[in-house]
């Protein structure tokens, strides 16, 4: 660092560092420019409120047509995501009572070929559970060859302990992109609760079986 080289680096290194900082800042913008997490507020605000119950859902128009969706994962705890079994039946997925089953998949509006307004799970025709919709699914976008399909993933939680023993029907409700109507998934998931558990009496497991993806 002494002598001519040292003086040169002492003088020009700050310029180099500023250059590195500039590259980082440009990269920050360039890399995040491709992030398509839906954050655009205006279109969401302009739309009517989402249904909060089955009765409010009934006020919307049931749309005909084949729902474009797949229920491709069920997992027993929100911290252990995700069992992906795209297009295959679910079996032997269980969760201790009181924990949450997460249903994961993707869906979109099949008519306008855009992401849906929202996705819900309807449990036994009584309870409407909104799904976290808009997650990134690059595999779906790649499959359809359309990047607008990337933000079509959903995750919906169902509390295993809130369901009584026996079979349950869980329909996937897909709101159209404009929010005016909904598609009801033809395929269903049957949730059965078992009492066999290594955790001791009173802490049965909810077990999922017989799901079939439609996508």
């Amino acid at each position: 660092m002494t002598g001519g080289d040292g003086r040169l680096s002492a003088r020009y290194l700050p310029l180099g560092i500023v250059g590195v900082a500039a590259i980082i800042m440009i990269a920050a913008v360039a890399l995040t420019g491709r992030v398509t997490v839906p954050r655009s507020v205006a279109p969401l605000m302009a739309q009517p409120p989402l249904p909060a119950s089955v009765s409010q859902l009934a006020a919307l128009e049931p749309l005909r047509g084949v729902p474009a969706y797949s229920l491709d994962g069920i997992v027993s705890s929100p911290s252990r995501v995700v069992v992906k079994t795209a297009g295959q039946a679910h079996s032997n997925v269980s969760a201790p009572r009181g924990q949450t089953l997460l249903f994961g998949g993707w869906a979109y509006d099949p008519v306008v070929l855009e992401p849906a307004r929202a996705v819900f799970l309807e449990v036994d025709g009584k309870t409407l559970i909104p799904a976290l919709y808009g997650n990134q699914r690059p595999d779906v976008a790649s499959y359809f060859g359309d990047q607008s399909m990337a933000a079509t993933g959903f995750i919906a939680p169902v509390r295993a302990g809130s369901l009584a023993a026996g079979p349950h029907r869980i329909d996937v409700i897909i709101l159209s992109a404009d929010g005016s109507g909904y598609y009801r998934a033809i395929d269903r998931v049957v949730l059965t609760e078992t009492t066999s558990s290594r955790r001791g009496p009173g802490k049965g497991n909810a077990r999922v079986s017989g799901a079939k993806g439609a996508g």
């Binding site: 660092m1 002494t2 080289d5 040292g6 680096s9 002492a10 290194l13 700050p14 180099g16 560092i17 500023v18 590195v20 900082a21 500039a22 980082i24 800042m25 990269a27 920050a28 913008v29 890399l31 995040t32 420019g33 992030v35 997490v37 839906p38 954050r39 655009s40 507020v41 205006a42 969401l44 605000m45 989402l50 909060a52 705890s77 929100p78 911290s79 995501v81 009181g98 924990q99 949450t100 929202a118 996705v119 559970i129 909104p130 799904a131 976290l132 919709y133 808009g134 995750i155 919906a156 939680p157 509390r159």
Partner: protein, 460 residues
């Protein structure tokens, strides 16, 4: 022709120094960039929610200037708000873009630190001190500021404070440079209240450099009064800040010490941080005495000025933080986000130690025998503390890697968000409203465990 051995050694030293500099200026920022890209909390998080009104306003075509200037806790976050608004215009509001951009801001710190190091420290030590400064600058102790979008406030304030101190202590002493430094101080002050510390420290820096420079000091004081008047206009004391007098009396010194030692004393409670705080104050005191002695003998002591001023800035910031927040508990003093400012102190301490050891080296053979082991112990000690701090940072990062947990925690921290605010987090506010109590009731242990971690260190 055979090259003399001394020249070869010098060349090797030179090449090693060059490699060290490249690592410090290029590799370390690149690694930080990759880490931030991988782990950023890409949702509005805790205090970031306060920006949603601004973002929404801008989205509708009008910027709420009063909102940008409004008081938030004890801060006015005007310039970072402008930065966030500007970045949000480049493709929507993205915390990832903000945090990656922040890495660029932190890298700019290195340019200033380089100028300070190369202007004051012995040439042989420059590359290695610079590497240390780079590693500290990007230390993972600051995960909160590095990985949350709200880190912009800290980094803008810190960068402008460093620049102001550099101009005051190392640029030509002139009125125009004082004005430039005042401008940088204004950016710092209106980014984070830590910028308040610059106002008294600026006078100190000017007088340390030139005890007869009262005209420039007066200019600085006049500018500071104007800035302070603007800052305090319509300012309301935050409820609960400062704490009760009794709490302040008992906790104040501990809080200050823990704040100062926070970047390196990261485990086993606050005592290691307090001890390191005491160590740093001892080094500053010894350096100040040495500086006074050199001045009294009419010898050059210019090299001490920027580092003493930098240390004074952080100590002043610690005093302010302790005055406002000691009542919230000492643990808060070691918060990750405070490490961004407190790290500046350690640049200063390391530089002062180098200067003191270099002075001792010149003192004679006996001193040389002491300097080498002392330097070795210090280097090993700092390396150990630094590595330990990085593990602490990694552990903290690990707790925020689940996107679902991140999203839920963000909502959990904001008790009553509007649908508009929630729609910034995800396109389905109903889901968030529904799922949070369900998740909490589900008793997921990981979810429950994270809550107290945040609760103890959430206020900025």
């Amino acid at each position: 022709m055979r090259t003399p051995p001394g020249v070869q050694a010098s060349r090797r030293t030179s090449i090693l120094g060059l490699v060290t500099i490249v690592v410090a200026a290029g590799v370390v920022p690149a690694l930080a960039f990759a880490l931030v890209y991988r782990y950023t909390v890409d949702v509005p998080y805790i205090d970031e929610w306060t920006f949603t009104r601004l973002i929404l306003g801008a989205d509708r075509g009008h910027i709420l200037w009063a909102d940008a200037f409004a008081q938030r806790n004890e801060h006015r976050i005007f310039f970072p708000a402008l930065l966030i608004l500007g970045l949000s215009r480049l493709g929507g509001w993205s915390e990832l873009r903000e945090t990656l951009f922040d890495v660029g801001l932190v890298t700019l710190d290195l340019a200033i630190l380089w100028r300070m190091i190369v202007s004051t420290l012995p040439a042989r030590t420059v590359p290695y001190v610079f590497l240390g400064a780079s590693l500290l600058t990007f230390s993972l102790v600051q995960v909160e500021t590095l990985l949350w979008g709200m880190g912009s406030e800290w980094f803008v304030a810190n960068l402008s404070a460093l620049f102001a101190l550099y101009v005051l202590t190392l640029r030509a002493p002139s009125a125009s440079n004082v004005v430039v430094a005042l401008g940088a101080s204004a950016v710092s002050l209106f980014s984070l209240s830590a910028g308040l510390s610059l106002l008294p420290v600026g006078v100190l820096a000017l007088l340390l450099r030139d005890p007869s420079g009262w005209r420039r000091a007066s200019l600085w004081v006049a500018g500071s009064i104007v800035m302070l008047a603007i800052f305090l206009r319509g300012f309301n004391a935050h409820p609960g800040f400062p704490g009760r007098a009794g709490e302040l009396a008992t906790m104040f010194p501990q809080y200050v010490l823990a704040f100062l030692g926070g970047p390196l004393g990261t485990r086993n409670g606050t005592q290691p941080a307090e001890f390191l705080g005491m160590f740093s104050l001892a080094v500053i005191a010894i350096a100040a005495i040495r500086f006074g002695a050199l001045r009294a003998r009419g010898r050059s002591a210019e090299a001490y000025v920027p580092w003493l001023a930098l240390c004074a800035f952080v100590v002043c910031d610690a005093l302010l933080a302790a005055y406002g927040r000691a009542g919230l508990g000492i643990v808060q003093a070691t918060s990750s986000r405070y490490a961004t400012m407190a790290t500046d102190l350690w640049f200063g301490v390391i530089a002062l130690l180098v200067l003191l050891l270099a002075d001792a080296w010149k003192a004679g053979r006996f001193a040389v025998r002491l300097v080498v082991p002392a330097a070795a112990v210090l280097v090993c000690g700092f390396a150990y503390l630094f590595v330990r701090a990085q593990f602490t940072g990694f552990r903290y990062i690990a707790e925020f890697t689940s996107p679902i947990q991140r999203g839920m925690l963000a909502v959990h921290d904001f008790p009553d968000p509007t649908d508009e605010q929630l729609s910034l987090l995800c396109p389905c506010p109903a889901y968030l409203r529904w799922s949070l109590p369900a998740l909490a009731a589900a008793g997921d242990p990981q979810f429950e465990e994270l809550v107290p971690v945040r609760s103890s260190s959430r206020a900025k």
